[in-house]
């Protein structure tokens, strides 16, 4: 079975997970947990979306700064990227949550979560942006020169669209990583899916059912995201063809 799993596999797996989840819930009488877990899912999705926005912003800011800004700013951007990629996400979250208050800056758990994860993922995103822009073939620049298109116009109309198309699969995978990282916010007492699971467990001791459902929820979400990325990437490839 060569190559990455097909779209059909993910569709089938997703449906299987939903069916199994439903059947399992019904069989184990776990239906009453769904509302609380659902609240957790909402928070998880909220953090993922907000974190993704911050990450996108930081990634482009840092990558473009590194490519085109004067050297002091470039140095800053590189520092940001290296520090946030080089340390643990959890350490970063704990630092924002426990250390900042010692300097009088008290941020809510939600702010820490979005800020910490957004900055962390943004650093990885910056490398994706830089990589895909650099990967646009030099020949495209030469064609633009031959047509006498100016530098800014070339970047805006020729280079960036191609870089953006190439960026989508790695960015998509990064967003799935972000989804998984949100589970860490449970450790700074934010009521996401993982936190709710522990809460419910302490209250009801229906351990197996609760944690199985939690894993299934995360799995369903990440399968859905994987499918989404595949569909977008395939659509773009169909339109524009594979890069030569």
């Amino acid at each position: 079975m060569k190559g990455p799993p097909s779209k059909a596999f993910f569709v089938g797996y997703f449906i299987l997970v939903l069916l199994f989840g439903a059947g399992f819930t019904w069989a184990m009488g776990a239906g009453r947990f769904l509302p609380v877990l659902g609240q957790g899912v909402v928070v998880t999705v909220e953090i993922t979306l907000a974190g993704a926005c911050l990450a996108l912003f930081m990634a482009f800011l840092a990558a473009l700064t590194r490519l085109y800004a004067p050297w002091p700013l470039r140095w800053l951007a590189t520092g940001y990227i290296e520090i946030f990629r080089g340390t643990s996400a959890l350490v970063q979250l704990f630092w924002l949550y426990f250390v900042l208050p010692q300097f009088g800056i008290e941020l809510s758990a939600m702010t820490v979560a979005i800020l910490g994860l957004g900055l962390h993922v943004g650093a990885y995103g910056a490398e994706i942006v830089r990589g895909t822009v650099a990967a646009v073939p030099k020949a495209q620049w030469e064609a633009a020169t031959a047509l006498n298109l100016g530098g800014l116009r070339t970047v805006r109309r020729i280079i960036m669209p191609q870089a953006l198309t190439a960026m989508i699969p790695p960015w998509g995978n990064l967003m799935i990583e972000l989804l998984k990282l949100t589970s860490l916010v449970s450790l700074i007492t934010l009521a996401d899916l993982t936190f709710r699971a522990q809460q419910l467990n302490l209250a009801t001791f229906r351990t197996t059912e609760i944690f199985t459902l939690v894993l299934l929820c995360y799995l369903a979400l990440s399968l859905l995201m994987t499918l989404g990325i595949r569909l977008i990437a395939d659509h773009l490839h169909a339109r524009y063809g594979r890069p030569s």
Binding site: Q140, A146, L147, N148, L149, Y240, G241
Partner: protein, 268 residues
């Protein structure tokens, strides 16, 4: 070494002139004090073994490669230097762009913009550089694409076109800028044999229709022989022999030229 048989235009000045141009990549010297003059409306084929410098001539003229010494003149003006205070200084961006607008180039790998349709590829530069209105640019692009035989494919993306079709779009795209000189860098080398003919036919048509000045690096000896006014044989960074096709192909003066032609024609 080069008996330049350039036919000067009525003003006496060649359209393109290389004056002792030296181009090196690090320690490798690719153009050795090259002299070359091309008259207006002249069709010149550049042939020779790989590494002999012929592609570098085109790339230097298109300002894709800087030269180490010597001057390239286009319409009598230096390409990469500006006259100032009686001497020459490196040109600023505006001057370079003005000079560059006289040259157009078609590449071996087509280099179409993959995220734009054939039509969009052809209007992008006229819109932003020449400042044409949208309607005018589209009309011009349609006409050119019609002329290269792709009138019904203007809304296709490069990924949906064959190699020969992509190259024809590339030619239309370059022509849309109305350059004075068109450069063709081995434009059929990346094509399947059966579509080479359609691209060469287009080049022949536009050559006669627009009376363009053309420099073509090519391995298509038959085409070079039949279509060019003049053939330059490059060897080791200099023009070894330069003359009309009948002379080069029929009665070359230098043994090296004859050796090269024998090897190429045997392979074809």
């Amino acid at each position: 070494m080069s008996g330049s048989s350039a036919v000067a235009d009525t003003a006496g000045e060649p359209l393109v002139r290389f004056d002792k141009v030296v181009k090196s990549f690090g320690s490798l010297v690719v153009l050795k004090e090259l002299d070359l003059a091309v008259a207006a409306h002249e069709k010149v084929s550049l042939i020779g073994p790989s590494g002999s410098g012929k592609t570098t001539v085109l790339r230097a003229l298109m300002t894709l490669e800087p030269i180490q010494s010597g001057v390239i003149y286009v319409e009598g003006e230096p390409l990469t230097h500006m006259p100032r205070n009686g001497g020459l200084v490196p040109a600023d961006a505006r001057y370079k762009r003005r000079m560059r607008s006289k040259i157009g180039m078609v590449f071996q790998q087509f280099n179409l913009f993959p995220h734009m349709t054939a039509l969009q590829n052809c209007i992008e530069a006229p819109l932003s550089v020449l400042g044409l209105g949208k309607d005018e640019a589209v009309a011009r692009a349609r006409e050119l694409l019609q002329m290269v035989g792709l009138g019904d494919k203007i809304d296709r993306y490069p990924g949906q076109l064959s190699g020969g079709q992509q190259q024809r779009v590339a030619i239309a795209r370059a022509l849309a800028m109305r350059p004075k000189v068109m450069l063709f860098d081995e434009v059929t080398s990346a094509l399947d044999p059966e579509v080479i003919g359609e691209v060469l036919a287009v080049i022949r048509d536009i050559g006669t229709e627009y009376k363009l000045t053309m420099l073509m690096v090519t391995h298509q000896m038959g085409f070079a022989r039949e279509f060019s006014d003049r053939v330059c044989f490059f060897y080791n960074g200099a023009i070894l022999e330069d003359g009309p096709p009948e002379q080069i192909f029929g009665n070359a003066r230098h043994e090296r030229t004859r050796q090269f032609l024998r090897a190429v024609l045997e392979a074809q």
